[in-house]
């Protein structure tokens, strides 16, 4: 096992798959000599050449539309959105088109394509370099949506996504890129899309999260465990399909549920998790289903004080856990 960062795991996953299958290729702004602005394709143009590492013009809708068209021909494009904040011009090709191709041809035209999107905040990115964009994709039938939190999950899920014959939105939290390190096996492995992971077992209550926040949740669980609150932490990893079975099993065991995410509260992923529990685990619930999420403003501002005020963190989560545990 080697210790890697998330960005290294992402890069390795792509490199392995590109070596394995020459239908796999990357495209996006600055993916060439620059190696991507986060260096996720560093060294790729040297190894795979210009035809499989395509520096595109600055035009996101075309990046997605062209990737989609190449997927129609049977290639396996990995288009990159440089920052999540800049994907909005491209959503027609993703939500309007890619998601509907398989259903709209009654299964005759597969779309083997992975859209990589660095997202999220905590990096002084302000209103246009911090956005959480998962809710739209989470709500879109015909897409799969993956949001790993660790290098191990990132690598195994990205490799699965690349081999999937359906469009996958792959969300990489920018702050985890270099902050989060973890063991990654040398030997090849794949992780299944759609299966959540219980990152910490516990009995007092269930804490569901994903992405950067997962790490704060784990820290908060440690903090309150000293106080006798035994938190089970479920890492969704895949948002769509949502692993209802794992969530429900945990909630039925603990009787209490809290969801944490960085994205805005209203209409976020947490609402669905809560709704599923309130329906399908109703008889097991021992307390209100709670959410600790980003407040309902566009996203975190640039100023340090305001960014801090926006973001859930270990302390805020621990406090909310105590409150729910005491219910």
């Amino acid at each position: 096992m080697a210790v890697q960062t998330v960005i290294e795991a992402v890069r390795e996953a792509m490199r392995e798959e590109m070596r394995r299958d020459d239908k796999v290729f990357v495209m996006g702004e600055d993916v060439g000599k620059r190696g991507g602005v986060f260096l996720s394709t560093q060294g790729f143009i040297e190894e795979f050449g210009e035809s499989r590492v395509i520096n595109t013009p600055l035009a996101e809708a075309s990046i997605m539309g062209i990737a989609l068209g190449a997927a129609f021909r049977g290639l396996r494009p990995i288009p990159e959105v440089q920052f999540s904040d800049f994907l909005w011009p491209s959503v027609n090709q993703l939500v309007g088109e890619a998601a509907r191709v398989c259903y709209g041809t009654d299964g005759n035209l597969p779309v083997p394509m992975v859209v990589r999107i660095p997202y999220g905040g905590g990096i002084r990115g302000g209103l246009f370099h911090s956005q959480n964009v998962e809710a739209l994709f989470f709500h879109t039938p015909g897409l799969k949506v993956v949001a790993p939190a660790t290098p191990y999950d990132a690598k195994g899920l990205l490799k699965s996504a690349i081999r999937d014959n359906n469009p996958v939105i792959f969300l990489e939290h920018k702050k985890t890129y270099r902050m989060v390190r973890g063991e990654v096996p040398e030997a090849e492995y794949l992780l299944p899309i759609g299966i959540a992971d219980v990152k910490r077992a516990g009995s007092t209550l269930t804490l569901v999260s994903y992405g950067l926040m997962l790490h704060y949740c784990l820290e908060a669980a440690e903090v309150v465990s000293a106080e006798g609150i035994d938190v089970e932490v479920v890492d969704l990893r895949s948002l769509r399909p949502l692993d209802k079975a794992t969530i429900l099993e945990s909630v039925k065991k603990t009787g209490k549920l809290m969801v944490v995410h960085e994205d805005n509260l209203t209409g976020g992923v947490g609402a669905e998790v809560a709704a599923v529990a309130a329906d399908e685990a109703f008889e097991y619930l021992d307390g209100p289903v709670t959410r600790l999420c980003g407040p309902d403003i566009p996203t975190m501002p640039f100023a340090q004080t305001l960014e801090d005020a926006y973001l859930p963190n270990t302390e805020k989560i621990a406090e909310a856990l105590r409150k729910l545990a005491a219910y």
């Binding site: 290729f25 035809s51 499989r52 395509i54 595109t56 013009p57 035009a59 809708a61 075309s62 997605m64 539309g65 062209i66 990737a67 989609l68 068209g69 190449a70 997927a71 129609f72 021909r73 049977g74 290639l75 494009p77 011009p89 027609n92 090709q93 309007g96 088109e97 509907r100 191709v101 398989c102 259903y103 709209g104 041809t105 009654d106 299964g107 005759n108 035209l109 597969p110 039938p141 015909g142 799969k144 014959n165 359906n166």
Partner: protein, 347 residues
Amino acid sequence: MTQARAPKRPRKNSAKGSAQADGLPQGLTSQDLVEYYSKMVMVRTMDERIWMLNRQGKVPISASAQGHEAAQLGSLLAARKDGDCFLFPYYRDLGIKMAAGLTPTEVMKSFMGKAGEPYSNARQFPLQGADLKHNIIQISNVVAAGLTQAVGYALGCRMMGEKTVVLVFFGDGASSQGETHEAMNFAGVHKVPVVFVCENNGYAISVPQSSQMAIADVASRAEGYGFPGVVVDGMDLVSVYEATREAIIHARAEGPVLLEMKVERFMPHTTDDDDRRYRPAEEVENLRQRDPVITMTAYMIEQGFLTQEQVEEIDAEAKRAINEATDAADAAALPDPSTLLDNLFVD
């Protein structure tokens, strides 16, 4: 419409001396013309029938191809003669989709939303989805969304070492969409083997060309992408065939071409539209003088490719086939509701 509709100046002279000894353009036989004339008559007959069936409540929606037939079939003919083309038509391309190889019954099932519809099994609007057997994809109704996809498809073919040229069709209205620009720009930079075919009928629903763009020819934009733009009379099948053929050859060898075919929309935008609100009735009447079916009939007889009798036979055969198709589609089953959730994903 303030602008003259007849093409003023083909950028490249598409008819330039490629004629064969028998007077037919390069690569064409009189057989081909008879075949495509018959297809044209079949398409027109279908189109008219569909409109009628809409008025009878049997067909929810149709965008008529009347006036566009020469453009659609001339392009298709060039693509088929070439033998290695893939097509991304748009919603008005009944001519292309039908003549590419569908039976009249399949087409009629599409319009009636019946099981076995060839593009989407009736999940989508008629003839929308994919007909891979005939090298055709059209995913959506979103105007201009197919252009970048077509560029990607062509790029993909090239990555696979193939010689395929992709033809993507769109209207004058579609030229305004941002994605049209993005598709052309990428294709220009990467010299992608794609022909952008604009069926310019001077209207986007009710919006005339003068409110859509401040220029006379969409084709003039090609220069801004570093590739050639060509204007052709889209009411004449042979001219369209020649221009498309040259464009395909150019695309394969050197990269994109923007081919603008000046056509006319004889009918309202769709069966849902009422064009009297925005278009004087005389305008359409005048346009009908240039009906591509009539023009081609005259040409076929004049050239001696068909006799008057044969023309009448072709007509009768089309009517018979469409009648039969109407009955067959009418009798066909609706999709089974239990299939509603199927095929959201492939394995």
